[in-house]
Symmetry: C2
Subunit: 414 residues, 2 copies
Amino acid sequence: MTDLTRADLEARDLADPLRAYRSFFELREGLIYLDGNSLGVLPHGVAERVADVVCREWGCDLITSWNKNDWMGLAPRIGAKLARLIGAAPGEVIAADSTSINIFKLLTAALKLRPSRRVILSEKGNFPTDLYMAQGLIDLLGGTYELRLVEDGADLSGALDQDVAVVMLTQVDYRTGRMLDMAATTQAAHQTGALVLWDLAHSAGAFPVDLNGSDADFAVGCGYKYLNGGPGAAAFLYVAERLQDAINPALSGWLGHEAPFAFDGDYRPAPGIARHLVGTPPVLSFAAFDQALSVFDTVDMGLVREKSKALSDLFIQLVESRCAGHGLTLASPRDAAQRGSQVSFGSDNGYPIMQALIAQDVIGDFRAPNLMRFGFTPLYIGYADIWDAVERLRIILETCAWDTEAFKQRSAVT
Amino acid sequence: MTDLTRADLEARDLADPLRAYRSFFELREGLIYLDGNSLGVLPHGVAERVADVVCREWGCDLITSWNKNDWMGLAPRIGAKLARLIGAAPGEVIAADSTSINIFKLLTAALKLRPSRRVILSEKGNFPTDLYMAQGLIDLLGGTYELRLVEDGADLSGALDQDVAVVMLTQVDYRTGRMLDMAATTQAAHQTGALVLWDLAHSAGAFPVDLNGSDADFAVGCGYKYLNGGPGAAAFLYVAERLQDAINPALSGWLGHEAPFAFDGDYRPAPGIARHLVGTPPVLSFAAFDQALSVFDTVDMGLVREKSKALSDLFIQLVESRCAGHGLTLASPRDAAQRGSQVSFGSDNGYPIMQALIAQDVIGDFRAPNLMRFGFTPLYIGYADIWDAVERLRIILETCAWDTEAFKQRSAVT
């Protein structure tokens, strides 16, 4: 490993079956963007599609666009495109609202489906908004509901009892990239009669997800990370077909009505997944997401997963060999099979080091107290990029520019 | 009135102090767009702004845009722009989610603020999604809550008792344009201890709204009608400053947290109106809305109201004089002071007549069972437009093209 050269990695890039996808994205020369786990980069064609929606569909066709340009169909169309990426049937996924709102929808659905149970079970370190939405719902319902939290990564069996209505888990931890076993966890929950709600924020588009194969009940996810749907892109939700008809949505809006334009006074849910729509969707943002997903039309997610593991293994190996002695400690699982498409290193100087890296055009991000996060997006990151990123990191660490007063003051300002 | 000519109206257009605003909008020659109450037209500058957000802010600046290009500030900035139009302080309004979701937020807030009361009071003919959201909430809470409905426009005093927690009303009826007296209704509700939630979907941007002057508690509204914010533009919500600190949101998402990027496990509401944010906002759609609102920077809403009344009075007078004998009956209040910026006529042939009008480039819309709706947007509609619209209507009615089998078949297909 130590005698690996940049030339070796250039050769790997040339042999990479996903190499051509880099040309699908707007990516400035020199930039090494390792933050696609936070905001994916702009795919070609999205700017043109959005301009067309603004100028022609809105500007010229105006109100007729709801039918003529099928604005009404955007939400299920996006859902159908996502379905293939997450192991679901097209009618099990729909784009709607934000991840947080969708968590609320599916938690209420789960509690209604398990009326005698009172516990939402999750991990202490679940992404905060997931926990917040559960807290808000429990506060709203009053009384006897409980958010039961286990330590991160703990065996759930000790906490799974007959009171648990729903287990709410994020498959990939946003700090460490640790990945849970979806099939095994779902099966364990089902054995006690609980439902499972998966947050796929750091899963969808990052590797093949198999909701149907895992017998998953519910899932949510967001469009703006590995799916490159644009800033604040629509979230999505999944409901297993076998559960759909039994759910009467708590957020019962007119677009989830059986006949929205009948303007009936009483809510009647639309058939299937469409009942989880609420209000009028943000068409410009939906159109960008819809267009961005066309990148994935021909993508083999198995290849994405293999390259993701290779990139992140390479990154760990190069950091640990070439940046040794600078106090960086791996915070992610060492086994690629246990990780999503992200690697985190802890460092007491994580914040200024990350600022210095960003100044050198290597974009990752920092999460308190000490984590530097690096996301690996195989469609637009190559092996030589990993070499270059680690080289820039090594130079920063060796020159200690990040450790000077001048640098600290500058990075505090920006 | 009967000897009014098109030349008279051209003269009124020349003297119109709002005339210059027409040039702020993309509006094809010949099109008379009387559907701004459903989807406002595209203001100049929006396409450029959206392209800049896509190509530069997302494409180049990527994740840094949340701060560098102040994506985080979009929601309160839009709110502050709206505040002036609806009689609120800047810190009382914020852009968020959809109207339906915002109704849910504020209904839950109202019920929590009046814990001993069990009734949401509304009108039978309120916009369906308002009623649906209340139904969903009551079903979620179970038990003793009630959605009490009065006939449209009925005096509320008979229904306002000590059980009413919140009165939920849409100020302007989406079918007839009938406008409620916000101040008087709010006062009546307050006298019984109830709160009031106003839906401003057909008010904001259409005429001066005075939430503070009416002592209003809560309001919601949507950005894509008279505010021209684009298809599915963000909705907004208003909470009177005096109530803000007492509300612990039920939809408690991370962007409404006091410190979203501290990633604490426990929800603590942000100060003021920001606590009503939930998830990551759709930035492209927010940017379009933000840009569209700049049209209003210099607009005197008093002038908008005066011209709106004049346009709609003129429309009624011309239809009733020049289209007499064709069975069109006014479905809106005859007194302009009782109307929003919309006029509806009932007709047994309303659907095919509207189809024929649309084919003649006069865009209104149809609502079952028999209403033809026409919205008047003084910033881009002139007096001569009204003449031309009614002339096209007259010709359609007199030639009866809409009544032929051939036309009916054609309009059924399109």
